[in-house]
Subunit: 270 residues, 2 copies
Amino acid sequence: MVAQRGEGDEVVTTATGMPAVQGAPIVPEQDEVVVRERARAIPEAAVARLAVYLRVLSGMVDQGVTTISSEELSAAAGVNSAKLRKDLSYVGSYGTRGVGYDVEVLVSHIERILGLTRKHSVAVVGIGNLGHALANYGGFQSRGFPVAALFDVDEDLTGVPVGGIPVNHIDDITAVCVEREVSIGVIATPPQAAQAVCDRLVSAGVQCILNFAPVVLQVPDDVEVRKVDLAVEMQILSFHVARRADEASAEQAANDLINGVGVDRVVIRP
Amino acid sequence: MVAQRGEGDEVVTTATGMPAVQGAPIVPEQDEVVVRERARAIPEAAVARLAVYLRVLSGMVDQGVTTISSEELSAAAGVNSAKLRKDLSYVGSYGTRGVGYDVEVLVSHIERILGLTRKHSVAVVGIGNLGHALANYGGFQSRGFPVAALFDVDEDLTGVPVGGIPVNHIDDITAVCVEREVSIGVIATPPQAAQAVCDRLVSAGVQCILNFAPVVLQVPDDVEVRKVDLAVEMQILSFHVARRADEASAEQAANDLINGVGVDRVVIRP
DNA sequence: TACCGCTTGTGAAGGCGTGCACAAAGTCGG
DNA sequence: CCGACTTTGTGCACGCCTTCACAAGCGGTA
């Protein structure tokens, strides 16, 4: 059973240093079987990039490319080639030195690591502007995340099909999510409702949540939340606009200064 | 002029070590005026959190809270209190020891750092499902990012108002963006069109871009791009689902092992 | 005014991720 | 079969970010 999980696992006993499978007849109470997860060892940042590589590689497959070097792939993904190779090394060593990577092999291994070999049904809660857009968004289906259920509080919406799927009332969330094996919940409600919706998703057994509402959700440790806050993104951009403007005006001011006092050159240091 | 920019700046000459404002009649060719940006020193990660703090603080203002401690604010923002204080220290020291922070003072200083004292007009390109949702999304307006222009290639859409703003044809992008002083461009087009749209935005003088299209945009160094890729978010969640499932099955397998060979306890190490 | 308790602000340490640089390993041409 | 060339995989060092821990500072109280 354990062997099936692949060569990345270790099963060791901390006290005896002896493999558990050779377990002695009597094992002390304080002994532990430590199972180290290869998957756990992949940095979050690398996981995000793997998803990007996968997208680029899919495009390559469509173009009939069969082999690609780390240099080419990293350029297409907009990252450093060393970083790319390190990221791929988390997945395993599936490249050929002197040649590069077999595109299809790489695709299948990344898909395996990202868990894309399983089906991940998605439920969207909150069928407002954003919910509508998400329900109609083809990108989910096409990349293996079928939208299996839609929910809203508004009873007028109940039964109305959006993007081909009828909207359910939010009170049915537990039953429907369990029945349709929803593994990812998307919260696209107003902020006031988000925490309550989140709680209901969690009690329906959903362990992964993508939150578009601008609130910090409180969840148990075993639930994973990712947040997309458009206003925060805008404000980060705003910060950069301001920084640029500051730099420009500082440079301008400094140049004025030059003209006044005879300094030759202005350098804005990072 | 330089002094106006605040106490975070330094103006020094590297060769003479003498302040530039006291510049000697003759200044050597290799002298440099070095202007260090306080803004530049704020880590990107901290900027993102500042935006979150700002949102929480705005809620506090609405509730009539006038003072808040780092402990309370950090809890509400879902971060470590030490991290919060360090983040706020980048903004400046505006707290009172033994008391906490004055909410309104903090709000205004964070707004200043994030550049929210200026108006940032937004243009949305690509009025499909997502573009519609973005145009109608009230969160932009309410947080100081008025949507000033909409664009699409589809001539049937031209002139049709969406969210109260008429759609322009994409060929007019430069003229309209310049006229309405657009500082942030949002790309919500299909992936094939994204790079071309991006190039046109850049040549229209837009220096900040929020990209929803699943492609890596190539831009000049002086343009800031932030990316929101829903499929990538889903795949990251998928990875966590898979990891959980692996852990569960590993634990199960290990427990089976226990029953077989008499190990007492199984620990899954991070 | 002097003390006490509370909270900020920050020096320092530790951890994590990035990028460099190179050995290992494979292909290709002769 | 061999040597030259190409590209992977990774050890290592550096730098950024996070976290801890505590001194400094302020308000309240007697």
